[in-house]
């Protein structure tokens, strides 16, 4: 087959793409233009992209599990987690035991204006209190509002997806999200 000049081939590529975008349907429906379907773009405010479950959108705090151990705050490269807490006495776990001393979280703030979304805090948390959720719509007109306090972080907990199953060959255990 003789070589087509590259100039004509190039025109073919663009025209083919235009055709695919405009007429994405196959079969007898081919001639019905449906660019909404053929285009790869997401028309954002009208339709929303669903990020994968593991996407690092925003950090959710499961407050009951948090012991204010400060590990996340200390391992944060950006110094954007602020924790304050105090100790209280709690009743024993079972009858006959002694009263325990537990940590109460007074303040758990993450400053998303500083956060680099590295996920180190979620990794180091030994008590399963921090989780990633793929939510991304929390931009604010004022930068100070990007500081999420523990109530706000707690609200994200509802959007945390379950951990994904692993591909065959994995020895990892699938973790559970506390609900």
């Amino acid at each position: 087959m003789p070589q087509l000049p590259g100039l004509i081939k190039g025109l073919g590529v663009t025209l083919r793409t235009a055709g695919r975008t405009l007429f994405p349907k196959r079969g007898w429906k081919t001639l019905i233009p449906a660019p909404q379907k053929g285009a790869v773009t997401v028309q954002y405010p009208h339709e929303k992209e669903a990020p994968p479950d593991r996407a690092r959108g925003v950090i959710a705090l499961h407050e009951e599990n948090c012991t204010a151990c400060m590990l996340c705050s200390r391992s944060c490269p950006d110094w954007c987690i602020y924790i304050e807490g105090h100790k209280v006495k709690a009743p024993p776990r079972r009858a006959g035991g002694k009263a325990r001393t537990v940590n109460m979280v007074d303040r758990f703030d993450i400053d998303y204006a500083l956060c680099m979304y590295c996920g180190i805090c979620v990794d180091v948390c030994p008590f399963d209190a921090l989780f990633w959720t793929p939510e991304y719509e929390y931009s604010e007109p004022r930068i100070a509002d990007l500081l999420h306090d523990k109530d706000r972080l707690g609200e994200w907990m509802d959007t945390v997806p379950d951990f994904l199953e692993y591909e065959t060959g994995s020895e990892q255990k699938v973790r559970k999200v506390p609900r």
Partner: protein, 233 residues
């Protein structure tokens, strides 16, 4: 060719690099001060700073024609610039009680002075890398390598502005990254990193303890409530 074969495959010695070291010590002669070899990993040479250019030429003649990078190490341990308020350093202080001002001894191929030049070259035929170091004296001056490796030009400019090392014979030693009127040499260890000093580390906060005089009282209250509940149930 893998640089890091699995442990059972590692032969006791790395003949290629040893042979290379022998050849280079021969051609370098007394220019070579010290050397260090990590089998199957890398070869370090330390040369005299006044013969820096000669060493580069000798390495190039030995087949190391590919210029990797050139930089410097500041072996000074200064309080500024480190994460001095953090817990990380607290642990360190306990380990090394005597304050070590200058510690180049941990570096491979040794070192005597605060600043050490560092250059990495490749030999494409041998598929080997070579790291060359040189101790810098008080004058902080060394000959430029521009004539040997044209690529050293920018690396020397960067090293000049970051460490304050002068490269003799380099015509354009003006700053590469920093603004023209910038003062100081940022990669020196005594150059403070402001970003870490203007803001307190949030990790220093500790959990507020229960005041001692209230502890017994609170515990009694909690236990009373617990027992009342148990009894009720």
């Amino acid at each position: 060719m893998g640089d890091q074969p699995t442990p059972e495959e590692i032969p006791p010695s790395d003949e290629e690099r040893e042979g290379l070291l022998a050849r280079l010590s021969e051609s370098l002669g007394e220019i070579l001060v010290d050397s260090h070899l990590r089998p199957h990993e890398d070869l370090w040479l330390r040369v005299r700073a006044q013969n820096w250019q000669d060493a580069a030429r000798a390495a190039k003649a030995a087949g190391f024609a590919y210029f990797g990078f050139l930089s410097a190490i500041d072996w000074h341990i200064a309080p500024e610039g480190r994460y001095e308020d953090t817990e990380f350093d607290a642990g360190l202080d306990e380990e090394d009680d005597e304050p070590v001002e200058l510690d180049a001894s941990t570096g491979y191929a040794g070192g005597d002075t605060r600043f050490q030049l560092l250059m990495q070259l490749y030999s494409l035929d041998r598929q080997l890398g070579l790291l060359i170091k040189a101790d810098l004296g008080e004058d902080m001056t060394v000959d430029t390598l521009r004539d040997v490796f044209p690529g050293a030009d920018w690396h020397e400019r960067e090293t000049h502005e970051m460490f304050g090392i002068t490269f003799h014979g380099h015509p354009t030693l003006h700053p590469l990254y920093l603004p023209t009127d910038f003062e100081g040499h940022p990669l020196r260890k005594d150059f403070p990193l402001l970003a870490r000093q203007v803001k307190p580390w949030p990790g220093v906060v500790d959990i507020e303890e229960i005041p001692e005089h209230l502890e017994a009282q609170l515990e009694a209250e909690v236990m009373a409530a617990f027992e009342a509940e148990e009894g009720g149930a």
